[in-house]
Amino acid sequence: MIGRVLHHMSLRTKLSLVVIASTLMASLLLFVVVTLLEYHESRHRVEERAQGLARVLALNVRAPLSFEDAAAARRVLDGLGAVPEVRWAALLDAQSEVFASYAFKAGVLPAKLDIHRWAVTTEKSAAGPLVYTAERVLVDGAVVGHLVLCTDTAPAFSAMLAEAALVLVGAAVIGLLASAAAVKVQDGMVLPIARLADVMHEVSRSHLYTTRVETHRRDEVGGLYDGFNLLLGELEARDVVLSRQQARLFTLAHTDAVTGLSNRHHFRLQLDEALTRVSQHPFAILCLDLDRFKMVNDALGHDVGDLLLKLVGQRLTSVARQADLVARLGGDEFAMIVQDVSDPLEVRSLADRVLAALCASVDIEGLTVPMGVSVGVAMAPRDGSQPDLLLKNADLALYGAKAGGRGRACFYDIGMSAGVVRRLQLERALRSAITLEQLSVVFQPQVDLASRAVTGFEALVRWRHPQLGDVRPDEFIAVAEDAGLINEIGAWVLEQACRVAVTWAPHLSVAVNLSAVQVMTQDLPLLVGRVLAETGLSAGRLEVEITESVLLNETEATLAQLHALNRMGVRIALDDFGTGYSSMAYLRRFPFDKLKIDRCFVKALTAESDTRVIVHAIIDMAAGLRMKTLAEGVECEAEMAALREEGCAEVQGYLVSRPLRVEAIGPFLAEWTASQGATAETGEAMGVVG
């Protein structure tokens, strides 16, 4: 209990208590010792005095006692009146009878017996405050009586007590003065320590390591202060280093190295934070995707790609307001948080400014790099108040923007989800389709109408996804074009097709489709040359098919690409002829080797006479331009017969065969040759005629 109380006391109080307690104890001890000594001494003195008195009296009463002069004896005893401490005195004769007596202030003598006792013992007694002294009265060596003196020690003792009390008071005063002095000295010691403790607490709380304590003392306390300051200095230095490291780590963790913008992590943090106060501060997020960035990266290299990203970052930052956040989420994905907006019109105007800033081509290291961006916008809290949902919806809007044509901004709208989600799913799945070997190439035979001999195969890409199942080529090719994956897929298909075709008989050729995007963005002669070299297929056995849309956006570069391919010996076919823009002008400008008549004409061929006229005209025109014709989607004998009549050179379709897997090609060829053997002659004849 006391220990606990002491434990909670301050050092100062404890020291003061110790000093005060010890001085008081010392005073008390001094008092007790002095009192005891004084008591003993005073008693002794009283006794001695009494004895001396008794001796003198005994001498003086010898004669009165001898001559039985009681009056004279009394006169002697009455002299004791000058000695107040003597209570009474009695002179006893030889028979121990009281011969004369004296009592202080006319008091009475105690019982006779009492006196006798002292007379008989003739000894001094020290019982109680009264001291009895008996002295023999000697005359000529003989005891003639006794003188008994009763002395009170009380007056002497109380005087002594008063003295001792004075000593005690003096000691206490000295003790208190000493305590005060000690406390003063302690204050010089304890107060600086307490102050130091306060500063320590303050520094621990505030982390203000620049704090210093000041003292002019050069003693131990001064040393303590200096040491504390040194410690603080060390802490401060470490704190600075730590802060720098933290800042650097923060920068590393939150910044995108290429653009210097915030990274995905920081964007998510900011988004989470913005969402916590979304009720007072509605905001919008913009998801941006660079158009054809992958192409730039692949064609012009990563350095140019990085420069482009940096440029985009700068332009986005210049468009954004001070409070807004611009981040690069990765790849060619950027995002913005537009603070404190609730009006879609306002966001629209910002998105338009973004589009305007990023629409034109830029020159990077002497190269003209096409730039464009699609923007998806989601408004918080309208389009979601959870970060994941908001991001997903902005993504959906982005895909909506891409689907609607690039270089647009699209706001999220609840109805857009289904189609866009499908697109999003496809795109995500497609990104890993090649590496996961989900893509495959099938081959549909092309047959010469005259000879009925197989002249080659069209390579067609197929995609089977474990969850999505078989995805239709036109659907995923469109997605691949939007997502910038078409070049990769196209190259892969080309390589696969050539690799398979080189195993066939030398007269069999292979036709591979090229997307318009590929023609516009890829260095096709380089690609084709590399693939041919790698697979060992001769250029003459390769045919590439392009669509009319390629020619629609025709540029010098496109034409140059096609001419270069042509020069390599690669044949070029115009796919889906008649479905596009039906401008004949481009047919003049480029020497196609083959026109592929679209299946819609073939379907209608037997039913509509007008169609037959058109097909007839196409074939005539092609013949005039020295182009071969091939009809797609031939599914019945009647169609084939009609085409033969019109002079079409080749057919392709279910009537001949569905697209075949690589391993099915051999058996098909064997079977086809066998079944056509009978009519081979006829066919050849027809071919010659055609």
Binding site: P64, D69, A94, Q95, V139, D140, A142, V144
Partner: protein, 168 residues
């Protein structure tokens, strides 16, 4: 002590009291060195004049020690016999004390005016109590030193210069 108590018990007996007084006088008296009882074989207690009760009382004291010497009683019929006496009790008149001259003899008597007429100590009865008168001059001339205590108890202290001529 016994003697003392005897005397006390014999209080009514004047002689016993007188004997006790005489004894006490001797106790408070100092003799000159030559005449000190201790130097001699005994303390001579002499009586002049016939008084049987007193003689009886004195003899009862015989053998008792006084100032270190045993008390010896003897009768003195002439003054020249008093040489050697320490104490001389004069029981009858008719003795000329002047013949004692400077002899250190403590003379005591109950004869009236004894101290005034050359005796050292005279016993006087007053108010039923026995008291005494002292002649300090005689004592001094006899070479006797009387205790101050004794003097203080004396009824009267005379300062007669010496024993003078006269007969009691």
């Amino acid at each position: 002590m016994l003697v003392w108590s005897d005397v006390a018990q014999a209080a009514p007996d004047e002689s016993a009291v007188q004997a006790a007084f005489v004894l006490n006088f001797a106790k408070f008296t100092e003799w000159p060195p030559a005449g000190q009882p201790a130097r001699q074989s005994a303390m001579q207690l002499c009586q002049f004049g016939v008084r049987d009760e007193l003689t009886q009382a004195f003899r009862a004291l015989e053998g008792r020690s006084l100032q270190g010497a045993p008390i010896q009683w003897r009768k003195v019929s002439r003054l020249d016999e008093a040489r050697g006496c320490h104490v001389l009790f004069v029981a009858e008149a008719g003795l000329s004390l002047v013949q004692l001259g400077g002899l250190p003899v403590l003379t005591v008597s109950d004869l009236p005016g004894f101290a005034q007429q050359g005796g050292v100590i005279g016993l006087v009865r007053q108010s039923g109590r026995l008291r005494f008168e002292v002649n300090r001059g005689v004592a001094q001339s006899a070479g006797l030193r009387l205790s101050a205590d004794l003097l203080s108890l004396a009824m009267t202290v005379f300062d007669g210069s010496a024993r003078h001529e006269g007969t009691l």
